[in-house]
């Protein structure tokens, strides 16, 4: 081989090795890889556990660890939100192991990176169940990934607690348990909760505009289940006699928000319903501000909460929530304690908006399902755990007591609340019994 060719291949191999190292996990012993990253998490004795230690170093529980397997989008487009679930899980594992473990045994969380890809999530759960032989599983983050993973759990008969999966109608597995309190028909209940909130002001909108991300979950909320007459946010608005002056769908990876902003300005609705995700709302609001336009009222379905707070023109925007760090939610001292631990872990991991809200609350609740199912059944038998949950429900920190309805595909009622950005912070404003002190829905057409 010629020296220059040898040198070329050597460099190429070095670069490939660097790529592999960059994609690999360096958090500690016992790591293996699937896709990009695998992490074995057990609690350390320090707060905000992010380090990996061996199970035998814990002091509160003993014996062979109970291995809980799951994936999260540690990389990829879902990573910003998955970081919240990772932090929440770390705190839960630390806390439960410090208080005697599960069935007297410590929990060991086997966490794989599904890279935000449903196919990798499914493969990861196959591996977790068949090769790693985990005792329990917990769902990943993201509707697509949860849907893919649920099929695997169903095939092997594993109890499948999961958090924010939006295609509620699709989940018919008898042992799936959602911790996102949307109910089975969020396409009806969520929008009506918002519309009730608007009507509670005494000055509801007369015109409403919809901009809808083509993501399946937001399409479901806006238009209902495909090939049914059920409808969603758009038809529910029409039922209230509000004129729908704009109804436009945009691609998931929209980068130029100018044309959409111009369409909204042209339609000039009293209220703008942004059926969007992540940073859709800040991007659209900024684009509307740039053309000197701002709707009188706005709602965004599932935003990344932090970026909105720093967006000019976002004051007054509403969204849905499960929990916010203010009374009456913080009347429970345990909720305050847990939220504080999660906040600290989020801050340590560099998440800019280090506060517990919907995602962290749903994540914590899913872990509670797993814990209570095992403790209630007195074993790790999947069917026994499943039956126990269905028969007894769950007592959760952030949702209260929950009852699962098999005829509603194990969904419970929609316990969502409406929150609003006021004075630069998120506050729950509706229903009134959950509103932050001295806060109420602020909306008035025409300013």
């Amino acid at each position: 081989m010629r020296p220059r060719t040898r040198w070329t291949y050597l460099i190429l191999i070095t670069v490939m090795a660097m790529v592999a190292a960059a994609c690999g996990d360096d958090e500690g012993e016992g790591t293996t890889t699937l896709g990009a990253t695998a992490t074995t998490l057990t609690p350390s004795t320090t707060e905000g556990a992010t380090e990996t230690t061996a199970a035998t170093e814990t002091t509160a529980a003993s014996g062979e660890p109970i291995r809980v397997g799951s994936t999260l989008a540690l990389t990829g487009v879902f990573a910003p939100t998955a970081a919240i679930h990772k932090a929440t899980g770390e705190v839960f594992v630390e806390r439960i192991n410090a208080s005697g473990g599960l069935l007297g045994r410590p929990i060991e969380w086997i966490l794989l990176d599904d890279e935000s890809a449903p196919d990798l999530a499914a493969a990861a759960y196959e591996r977790l169940i068949t090769e790693d032989e985990v005792d329990l599983v917990l769902g990943p983050y993201g509707t697509g990934n949860i849907t893919a993973a649920m099929a695997v759990a169903q095939r092997y008969g594993y109890v499948f607690p999961h958090h924010t999966a939006s295609l509620t109608y699709a989940y018919t597995y008898e042992c799936h348990f959602s911790s996102w309190s949307t109910g089975l028909h969020p396409n009806i209940t969520n929008p009506n909760l918002l519309y009730d909130a608007l009507e509670s002001t005494g000055t509801p909108p007369e015109t409403i505009g919809f901009v809808v991300n083509e993501f399946p979950g937001t399409m479901f909320i806006s238009y209902g289940q495909p090939e049914t007459e059920e409808g969603g946010a758009v038809t529910e608005a029409e039922k209230r006699g509000w004129e729908v002056v704009l109804d436009v769908t945009y691609p998931i990876a929209t980068s130029d928000w100018g044309p959409l902003a111009a369409q909204v300005r042209d339609a000039d609705p009293d209220f703008l319903y942004i059926a969007g995700l992540g940073v859709d709302a800040p991007n659209l609001i900024t684009a509307m501000q740039a053309i000197d336009y701002s709707p009188d009222g706005m709602f965004v379905q599932w935003p990344a909460p932090g970026p909105l707070l720093g967006t000019e023109g976002a004051d007054g925007i509403m969204s849905v929530t499960i929990f916010e760090e203010h009374p009456p939610f913080t009347d429970d001292p345990e909720a305050v304690e847990v939220a504080g631990m999660i906040d600290a872990t989020l801050a340590e991991s560099g998440v800019p908006y280090a506060k517990v809200e919907t995602q962290a609350a749903a994540s914590w609740t899913a872990w509670e399902y797993l814990q209570q199912a095992a403790e209630g059944a007195g074993s790790l038998d999947q069917q026994a755990m499943c039956d126990w949950l269905i028969d007894n429900g769950a007592q959760t920190l952030f949702h209260g007591d929950i009852e699962f309805f098999p005829d509603q595909q194990n969904y419970f009622e929609d316990l969502s609340k409406i929150k609003q950005v006021q004075d630069g912070e998120w506050y729950t404003v509706y229903p009134e019994e959950f509103a932050a002190p001295d806060r109420s829905v602020a909306f008035s057409p025409g300013g």
Partner: protein, 290 residues
């Protein structure tokens, strides 16, 4: 009518930003035969650096041009020197620069986490500033980006057609061996051009930081925009790249306001395919490098 006009204006201006993002990779591909996928991560990395310096030192983000442009010129120089060392050709460049892209993505996620980053309105008053002509908004960040793209495209065209360096670049692009035989230091030319290409990408990053919310995966979304512009404009053709950027931007903007945003990718790629059927070498070829 105003809606259509706004769509056209927004499309032209955003097309300028797209062109600014594309010029670097077009020059690299056309002149150096390097398909540098790492350009996408250079744009994003520049945006993150602008974000970090702006937030940490509370300075005007536009001033960061003075920091990132020379910094990334050096980066481009070093990268090209590495390519020389590794005897990277067009095919190998795809593999190696994809590896660099992954490395930079991981580094950015490690440093800034996977969460969203945006310069707030206090430090970034530009993001919502516009001036209006008859009700049509000209957004300031995009307008400045368009002007910068115009200056760069025009400047590079003049350079390639009026200067010895430009002639040297064209000679190296056509036949590096023959260029060397005529006394042109092809390595030096390549290094300088690579530095310029990467600096141009860094300039695009400044406007990304001003106008968008950043997260590590953002660069992936640009592949579907930048490559059509690069191909449509002709490899190494800076004016062609600007033209293509405007065409793509206007097509996407007009189709969005007329038929909804979902139609924009369909229209964009239809234009690309039809254009390549009739002009496979790109829209403007008379002044291409190669």
């Amino acid at each position: 009518m105003e809606l259509l006009a706004q769509g056209i204006v927004s499309g032209i201006l955003v097309g300028g930003l797209y062109a600014l993002m594309s010029i670097g990779i077009s020059l690299s591909w056309g002149a150096l035969k390097i398909i540098n996928l790492a350009h996408f991560s250079f744009i994003l990395l520049s945006a993150y650096i602008v974000y970090q310096l702006t937030v940490s030192f509370e300075v005007d983000p536009l001033l960061m041009v003075l920091v990132v442009a020379p910094l990334f010129f050096l980066v481009g120089v070093l990268v090209q020197m590495f390519f020389h060392l590794a005897k990277v050709d067009e095919f190998k460049s795809l593999i190696i620069t994809f590896g660099l892209f992954i490395i930079f993505q991981s580094a950015m996620q490690t440093i800034w986490s996977a969460d969203f980053r945006r310069i707030g309105p206090v430090l970034n008053p530009y993001e919502t500033q516009s001036f209006f002509v008859g009700g049509i908004a000209f957004q300031l960040p995009q307008l400045v980006a368009f002007v910068v793209a115009l200056l760069i495209a025009g400047g590079m065209w003049l350079t390639f057609t009026r200067t010895y360096f430009g002639k040297a670049v064209r000679a190296v692009a056509q036949d590096p061996e023959m260029a060397r035989a005529f006394g042109i230091d092809s390595r030096r030319v390549a290094v300088i051009l690579s530095g310029l290409s990467t600096a141009f990408s860094a300039l695009a990053g400044v406007f990304i930081a001003i106008g968008q919310t950043m997260f590590p995966e953002l660069a992936v979304a640009w592949f579907g925009i930048i490559f059509p512009i690069v191909i449509l404009g002709g490899l190494g053709n800076s004016l062609g790249t600007l033209t293509a950027g405007v065409i793509i931007g206007v097509a996407a903007g007009v189709s969005s306001v007329l038929w909804g945003p979902l139609s924009a990718p369909l229209v964009t790629f239809t234009i690309l395919i039809v254009a390549l059927l009739f002009r496979p070498e790109g829209l403007i070829t008379k002044r291409s490098i190669a």
